[in-house]
């Protein structure tokens, strides 16, 4: 089953939530819509489900135009951020709901419903909770019930809105790995919305980065992470050090990095904290600064360096490496990025 959204535009009053967005999801893929809040990712998901109507554009499911269809006709499974379990029904009844409301001709028999529900509950490993009410479950359990409920009607595609957003960090991690395994098992075309970079990169086959109602970049997680196409994506995917540098002869130079840029007076060089080399000894061309602060968190140590022009640079080192170097606050150090990027997009973000 494929999903195709063409030129989707959605406005809420004066606010443009989606601006001519195109999205294509291949059969059996698991795609993450990633972006900050207000980027339009949830709106796009709800438009695909038919829970929201686009002002312009069309939605095609499996090559059929469903733009005018209501959610009931689209046969999509939707998992809500806050689960939206029917609070007065047991877990079993929640999962059975979609089967019970089918028109009489196609409604499965009592026994068949029971078997299907238990099968699904086993799939999400909650068979033992069938008779509980939603408010007797933990967040993670509720989310799995919501997933089983959505799967019960054999949806053509599965849409998940911030599926792990309301859970605490540890449960989140477990549950997203579990979702990946589940997807490998049942292979239903799925789209999930998240603002958590790690989650998107870890779980999805393809990541779609959104910002201000537009898609900034899409691609395989590695591809997106290694080759961000613009400053926004670079910033969104991790911490950044910025170096404002003069352009000379179509090139900028930061430390040992020399990058080609198209003719401007000044360019902004982006480098990740873990991609910056730090040393006590001066090397030709390296940047100078003094150590301002050192924090050791878990396996990495962060060193904050103040440059002469008062700008700050953050450097991340593995703990073992730091143990060899042992900087002290106030000490003079030298810096050079191992990897850096320049984007040709003057002021695109501020429009």
């Amino acid at each position: 089953m494929t999903i195709q959204a063409n030129q989707i535009t959605k406005r809420f009053g004066a606010f443009t939530a989606l601006d001519r967005v195109d999205l294509e999801v291949g059969d059996g893929q698991l795609v993450a819509l990633l972006g900050p809040s207000g980027s339009g990712k949830t709106t796009l998901l709800r438009i695909i489900a038919g829970l929201e109507q686009a002002d312009e554009g069309s939605v095609w499911l499996d090559g059929v135009d469903t733009t005018r269809q209501n959610p009931r006709e689209r046969r999509v499974g939707f998992v809500f951020q806050h689960y939206a379990l029917f609070r007065h029904m047991t877990v079993f009844e929640n999962v059975a709901f979609g089967l019970r409301v089918k028109p009489r001709r196609v409604r499965p028999g009592r026994d068949e419903i029971r078997d299907r529900v238990h099968e699904l509950l086993r799939l999400v490993q909650l068979d033992w909770l069938a008779d509980r009410l939603p408010n007797q479950l933990s967040g993670g359990q509720r989310q799995r019930v919501a997933l089983a409920r959505a799967l019960a009607v054999e949806p053509r595609v599965l849409l998940l809105d911030e599926p792990f957003g309301a859970l605490d960090a540890k449960v989140r991690k477990e549950l997203r790995r579990w979702l990946r395994r589940l997807h490998d098992e049942i292979h239903v075309t799925s789209v999930f919305v998240t603002h958590d970079v790690e989650e998107a990169l870890e779980v999805a086959d393809e990541v779609v980065v959104m910002n201000e109602g537009r898609i900034e970049q899409k691609g395989h997680p590695d591809q997106v992470y290694e080759h961000p196409v613009n400053s926004f994506v670079y910033h969104f995917l991790g911490s950044v050090n910025l170096f404002h540098t003069r352009v000379r002869d179509g090139q900028v130079r930061v430390g040992e990095q020399v990058l080609a840029v198209e003719g401007e007076d000044e360019a902004v060089v982006h480098a990740r904290p873990h991609d910056i080399e730090i040393s006590r000894t001066a090397e030709p061309g390296w940047l100078e600064g003094t150590v301002l602060r050192i924090h050791g968190i878990g396996p990495v140590v962060r060193v904050e360096v103040r440059r002469e022009d008062e700008s700050l640079v953050e450097v991340e080192l593995p703990r073992e490496r730091y143990a060899d170097l042992r900087f002290t606050v106030g000490e003079a150090v030298h810096l050079s990025p191992r990897q850096a990027k320049v984007f040709a997009e003057a002021g695109r973000q501020s429009n």
């Binding site: 829970l51 939707f78 029917f86 709901f97 409301v101 408010n135």
Partner: protein, 296 residues
């Protein structure tokens, strides 16, 4: 929410023990003051009603209730109630669905309009129908020509009752349905349920206690309304007197025992209402507590 303060769900101790509280003589004094106030203001009149009703024995009591005019009043009260409560219930559910589940222009205005009957004096509720349908009102001459009588007749009493009980159900449902949001309805739709299936299987079970609560209050007001009905009734004994109006007639005739006998029926209704109301609050408390972490 003018007219009716926000409902209090099952009053539960805030904290069993507080580190910071008043010294015990102050506490005891305040409790005593509150109890005395409630006893004098609310309990004493209620006791008096039952005491006076039975002061001259069962025989007089039963005679007062069995008297034909009293019977007619009881029948009329029940008729007005049986018409008003279902109509206002259907309206309340429809209004709550439209207002709580959708955003549209004029929504706030509509909310205020629904509240209006609470803010308006019951006498004015009667007055507006007299002005519309009374002999010298807008439609009076036309109605007279066609031999239709609304004022000083049953239809007028039903209209006045409808007006004063108009907001009860809607007012209970709207805040609850707004708080519940429409996620559950939306998920029912994505699971293939039709609109009516969604309403009957998802929405209604979620609002049943608030609905019942609204109906109980609506019913109590419908049976007990005095001012509005008094204006449109014309006080024709045995024909257009409801129970509260019949009480007034008896009282003004110095038939105190009979007046209090009929009053005791309504007082009993009030007590039953309070008991039901407390039961519903008690039942609704766990069910209506948000079943999930509040949306951020």
């Amino acid at each position: 929410m003018p007219g009716l303060p926000p409902r209090l769900r099952a009053a539960r101790p805030a904290e069993a023990r507080r580190a910071v509280t008043e010294p015990w003589p102050v506490r005891a004094g305040l409790i005593a003051l509150a109890l005395l106030f409630i006893a004098l203001l609310l309990v004493l009149p209620l006791v008096l009603v039952f005491q006076t009703a039975f002061a001259q024995g069962w025989r007089t009591y039963l005679a007062a209730i069995r008297e034909p005019d009293a019977w007619a009043a009881i029948r009329l009260t029940l008729l007005a109630t049986i018409i008003s409560v279902p109509l206002n219930t259907i309206f309340g559910v429809a209004a709550a669905w439209a207002i709580a589940k959708f955003r549209f222009r004029g929504r706030q205005l509509l909310l205020t309009l629904i509240d209006l009957p609470f803010a308006v004096s019951p006498v004015i509720a009667g007055l507006i129908f007299v002005i519309l349908f009374g002999r010298r009102g807008f439609l009076g001459p036309w109605l007279a020509e066609h031999g239709i009588r609304i004022i000083f007749n049953t239809p007028g009493i039903v209209l006045a009752t409808l007006f004063v009980t108009f907001p009860f159900v809607a007012r209970e449902l709207i805040p609850l349905m707004e708080a519940q949001g429409s996620d559950e309805e939306q998920s029912a739709l994505t699971l293939g349920a039709s609109g009516w299936q969604t309403f009957w299987r998802v929405t209604l079970p979620n609002i049943k206690w608030a609905l019942l609560y609204g109906i109980i209050l609506c019913n109590a007001r419908a049976m007990g309304e005095f001012g509005a009905v008094s204006v449109v009734s014309g006080h024709i004994r045995g024909r257009t007197n409801t129970m509260p109006l019949h009480i007034e007639v008896l009282y003004n005739d110095y038939q105190f025992a009979a007046a209090f006998a009929v009053a005791s029926l309504l007082a009993l209704l009030a007590v039953v209402t309070l008991v039901l109301k407390s039961l519903v609050e008690w039942r609704a408390a766990p069910a209506s507590a948000p079943s999930e972490a509040a949306a951020g």
